[in-house]
């Protein structure tokens, strides 16, 4: 229970990127991703430029590229889908070595791969330089509805507790000689899931009781984020600004 999943993405540091207020970073990330997604897929060089921006950012934050590369593996399921696309999509085809691939599918695969990788990469830089509580403070300052902020807060707090509970139930199951591995044994797993749900629900009631006892009246206190200065905003928005320039240039180059 001690090693929290929710914290393991954060890489402690004191770089410029670490110190910039979280709300600026979140806004900057979202705008950056918009610029990337809005760029035409035919302009390969634009994606080189976006990737270069990412590398510069990671270096500025003092993040080891290898670490980011390892974390990028989270997008593998999407990559698998992208790799399949040229073979299942319709339209005109062309031969690549021994196999024939759909041209539309190839473009689609490239589009998903390039934009996805850059988007995930940027998100990884954000999560590596921002602790989870800070991230929540940032979202709160960006006026995310308070119900959503509260839900995120509880999710972060209880993800580990519930995972640990699940782990204990699994061990208890194993200890009694039952190790379901096959689909037809799903019944036991479903039972566990049901039990876990009921337990979590009951925990929710106990947490609510504890909240009430400390004067909760339906409104969570602010997470206490600090306002960002104009300079910090300008610094944070330099990234999406650069990306927007690249995007505009790629559209101009296309026409």
């Amino acid at each position: 229970m001690s090693a929290g999943h929710s914290e393991h993405l954060f890489v402690p540091g004191s770089s410029f990127l670490h110190r910039i207020p979280p709300q600026c970073k979140v806004a900057s990330l979202v705008l950056f991703v918009f610029a990337v997604v809005a760029s035409p897929r035919e302009q390969y060089w634009a994606y080189g430029a976006f990737a270069a921006l990412m590398v510069v950012l990671a270096a500025a934050a003092g993040l080891p590229i290898l670490l980011l590369a390892r974390r990028l593996t989270i997008e593998l399921p999407f990559v698998a889908f992208a790799v399949l696309l040229p073979f299942v999509a319709g339209g005109p085809r062309r031969d690549i070595g021994p196999v024939s691939a759909s041209i539309d599918g190839l473009w689609g695969a490239w589009n998903i791969l390039a934009k996805g990788t850059i988007g995930v990469g940027a998100t990884l830089v954000l999560t590596a330089t921002t602790s989870v509580p800070d991230l929540i403070r940032g979202l709160e300052r960006l006026r995310l509805p308070s119900a959503l902020v509260a839900m995120l807060t509880f999710m972060v707090r209880y993800a580990d507790v519930i995972t640990a509970e699940m782990q204990r139930m699994r061990i208890a199951r194993l200890s009694r000689g039952y190790d379901p591995r096959w689909l037809w044994q799903a019944r036991a797993v479903a039972h566990s899931a049901g039990t876990l749900f009921v337990r979590s629900y009951e925990r929710g009631e106990r947490v609510f009781l504890a909240m009430q006892s400390r004067g909760y009246d339906g409104r969570m206190p602010s997470a206490g984020g600090l306002a960002a200065s104009t300079r910090q905003w300008l610094a944070a928005l330099a990234l999406p600004a650069a990306a927007t320039v690249v995007m505009a240039a790629s559209w101009l180059a296309r026409s």
């Binding site: 509580p133 807060t153 707090r157 209880y158 925990r203 504890a210």
Partner: protein
């Protein structure tokens, strides 16, 4: 004359299915007293505790805290005055960081800015946990979490501290660290527990609950030494423990 820290009069409570959890419970506690509440599982201890800050209520009888009646109109002040530390610290600590969690209560009372920060610092210092403010609760050991849970309540500057099973799942060192904390608090304290030596160590006075009624109310040492009383209330001392040895 100052009113008693806690006065419970003829408190009765039945669950919706009709089973009585409390029947005509009356007692009072003077300011600064430490009182243990003992009783077997299902004796009504937790139900009693939840009446003290008005989470449960609606039955006959009254609860007064420092002279103030626990009722809807006074609920906010009552919940400030009565600090309940629940059994599972994972239920009590629900915010992402320790400091945010300790700030939850005082923030609900309207504290902000530096005053709030000071309240948080003071409470964490009182339980010897000043260094963990920015940590996540689930990264602390169980004993540390229990002490932080006490801090979350102390930050509201309560007049009555209620500890529900404070020693469950604690190792002996954490158990002693917690008793050091409790002993140094200048507060009225109620301790609900199955840990009889702990009750003896911290509380000069004990109430025994049985089936929703008060079966005994007296000096802890005398009650624990009364074998017939103990057996009648399904209470047992640990093996080899002789309460009479501690008699004055």
């Amino acid at each position: 004359m100052t009113p008693p820290a806690l006065k419970v009069s003829s408190l009765t409570y039945a669950y919706p299915d009709g089973t009585f959890a409390l029947r005509d419970v009356s007692f009072s506690v003077t300011a600064g007293e430490r009182v243990a509440i003992l009783g077997a599982n299902g004796a009504g201890k937790t139900t009693l505790v939840l009446h003290l800050n008005g989470v449960l209520g609606g039955g006959p009888g009254e609860v007064h805290v420092g002279g103030l009646r626990v009722e809807k109109a006074n609920m906010r002040e009552c919940r400030r005055r009565v600090g309940i530390v629940f059994q599972d610290p994972d239920d009590q600590l629900f915010m992402p960081t320790v400091a945010q969690d300790v700030a939850f209560g005082p923030a609900n009372l309207g504290l902000t800015g530096d005053v709030l920060a000071t309240a948080v610092d003071d409470a964490l210092k009182a339980v010897g946990m000043a260094h963990v403010g920015e940590r996540a609760p689930h990264h602390l050991s169980f004993g540390q979490r229990r002490r932080v849970a006490v801090a979350t309540v102390l930050a509201m500057q309560p007049e009555l501290l209620v500890l529900d099973e404070p020693t469950s799942n604690l190792d002996p060192a954490s158990r002693r660290e917690l008793s050091d904390v409790v002993r140094h608090l200048d507060l009225t304290v109620l301790i609900v527990t199955h840990d009889l030596p702990y009750a003896l160590e911290l509380c000069p006075r004990t109430l025994i609950l049985n089936d929703g009624t008060i079966a005994a109310d007296g000096p802890t040492i005398e009650l624990l030494a009364d074998e017939a009383l103990m057996t009648a209330n399904r209470l047992e001392l640990p093996f080899g423990f002789d309460a009479r040895r501690f008699a004055p």
